[in-house]
Amino acid sequence: MKTIREWLKKHKNFNMIAGAVITGLILLIAVIGLFYTPYPSTEMNASLKNSAPTIKHIMGCDNYGRDIFSRVMEGIRNTFFISLATVAIGTVVGVLVGSVCGYFGGLLDDILMRINDALFAFPSILLALVIISLLGTGTQNVVLALGIAFIPSFARIVRSEYKKQVSLDYVQSARLMGAGHVRLIFVHILPNIVPVLLSSVMIGFNNAVLAEAGLSYLGIGVQPPEASLGRMLSEAQSYLFTAPWYAIFPGLVIVLMVLGFALLAEGMTEE
């Protein structure tokens, strides 16, 4: 406890702390949601249709009489893991493409970056829409579509970092020690771009949360009866005045999730 207090005194990085607390709580709920929800998320109860929050149903019930808290828990779980997988795809492919382009430069760089620009020109939601309409709906396809839509921004950031690093003396020095290209790219340079990568991963995660919610809101993301925060919002639309809690709680959770990660990213750049 004392060390934490000392650390706080020294760093005073409130963004980091607030971000970590909010994100930690949400992550906790996502993990609990894997094993336990207060009620089965698809259990309907006609007598509780659109009922207001009570002790038993702390966030109220939806238009089918399903417990909103349970569905929010499941929604967080889905959103969280979809976003995680999306960012993972974007980061891994983005690092591969970006590092090769930034390190080697030349014709390959030109070709890959023009393709990248072309992808970048589409808004990521639109790109994801196109991919989903080709592949069909479903959680895996959502992950794939969003993942592809996220590659260009990562590739661009990573490329510019590599361009910067590659001319530094330590790279020349390692090259002179006889290190090969692969070793230079991954062993020598990669650790040096981790700070930049980390904050763009955080921001990317935020965008993924919003994009997933957006796709589900449009009805092409997570399919019913599975719960998703975006889908809940779109369903709640028709009951905005009769059952406002249906829209408020999922919306609040999306805001908190995004806020938590934004604060974390902010805190990391401060460190």
């Binding site: 530094l168 003396d169 330590y170 020349q172 020095s173 390692a174 090259r175 002179l176 020690m177 006889g178 290190a179 090969g180 070793r183 020598h188 650790p191 040096n192 981790v194």
Partner: protein, 265 residues
């Protein structure tokens, strides 16, 4: 004893990245014997660093034209296959850079960086032996506490210490040729003296040939056996250190020597 390590014959570099080709180095001839320290001195833009980078094989292959020959133990580095050249770099030829602040990887521990040449060129050496050799070299470059330095990151060391780490990293593979490109320029005078003394010691003990590049005439005079004076991409004069400093033939050399600031107390 005198065995030729390096022989540069009619070497030239021409840049082609602008509309008009630009010659930065021309008709450079010199040779380096085993165990010899050859100083190259010249003002900025005289082509001394370009020549060093070319010998180290670090010049990009595109956008510039090179001519002549750089023979290392009789083999031409310029026409050598890339793979073979990479096998020599770090093992037979190594280099110390100007800026110790940026020449070390900030995210890699010192020990790992010193071991790098061994790890790449001698995979047969066990991790334990690699560590021993790195520690030995850290001790050879007069680190007080090699074990601690081994586990440190570059930002925890001072500039002089970092430059000594660079020397250890360059020497760990027992190279035949060590290129020191302005390696003391970024350091203050007392540390400079230390590094010079260290290089002289290593040169004597390991019989490594050193190509010492600097714009500082008094440093060159202290360390070199022979000296090359360069100006605008040409060699103006070369010869034994005493001959150059005491009986310079060329006007440019005389002027350079006359320009050494004298401290009078």
């Amino acid at each position: 004893m005198s065995e030729t390590i390096l022989e540069v014959k009619d070497f030239g570099i021409e840049f082609h990245d602008h509309d008009k080709p630009e010659r930065v180095v021309e008709h450079v001839n010199f040779s380096l014997q085993r165990g010899e320290i050859l100083g190259i001195v010249g003002e900025s833009g005289s082509g001394k660093s370009m020549s060093a980078l070319a010998i180290a094989g670090l010049l990009p292959r595109k956008k510039l034209k090179k001519e002549g020959q750089i023979l290392f133990l009789g083999e031409d580095l310029m026409t050598m296959e890339r793979k073979k050249l990479r096998g020599l770099q770090g093992d037979e030829i190594s280099m110390i850079f100007q800026e110790p602040m940026t020449a070390l990887n900030p995210t890699m521990k010192i020990g790992k960086q010193v071991e790098e040449a061994l790890r790449i060129h001698h995979p047969e050496v066990t991790a334990e032996e690699r560590k021993q050799r790195a520690l030995t070299w850290l001790k050879n470059v007069e680190m007080d506490d090699p074990e601690r330095v081994y586990d440190s990151y570059p930002h925890e060391l001072s500039g002089g210490m970092r430059q000594r780490v660079m020397i250890a990293a360059a020497m760990v593979g027992n190279p035949q040729l060590l290129i020191a490109d302005e390696c003391t320029t970024a350091l203050d005078v007392t540390v400079q003296a230390q590094i010079i003394r260290l290089l002289l010691e290593i040169n004597k003990k390991e019989q490594v040939s050193v190509l010492f590049i600097s714009h500082d005439l008094s440093l060159i005079r202290q360390i070199s056996h022979r000296v090359i004076v360069m100006q605008l991409g040409h060699i103006v004069e070369q010869g034994d250190v005493e001959q150059i400093f005491n009986h310079p033939k060329e006007e440019y050399t005389k002027k350079l020597i006359a320009a050494i600031p004298k401290v009078e107390l």
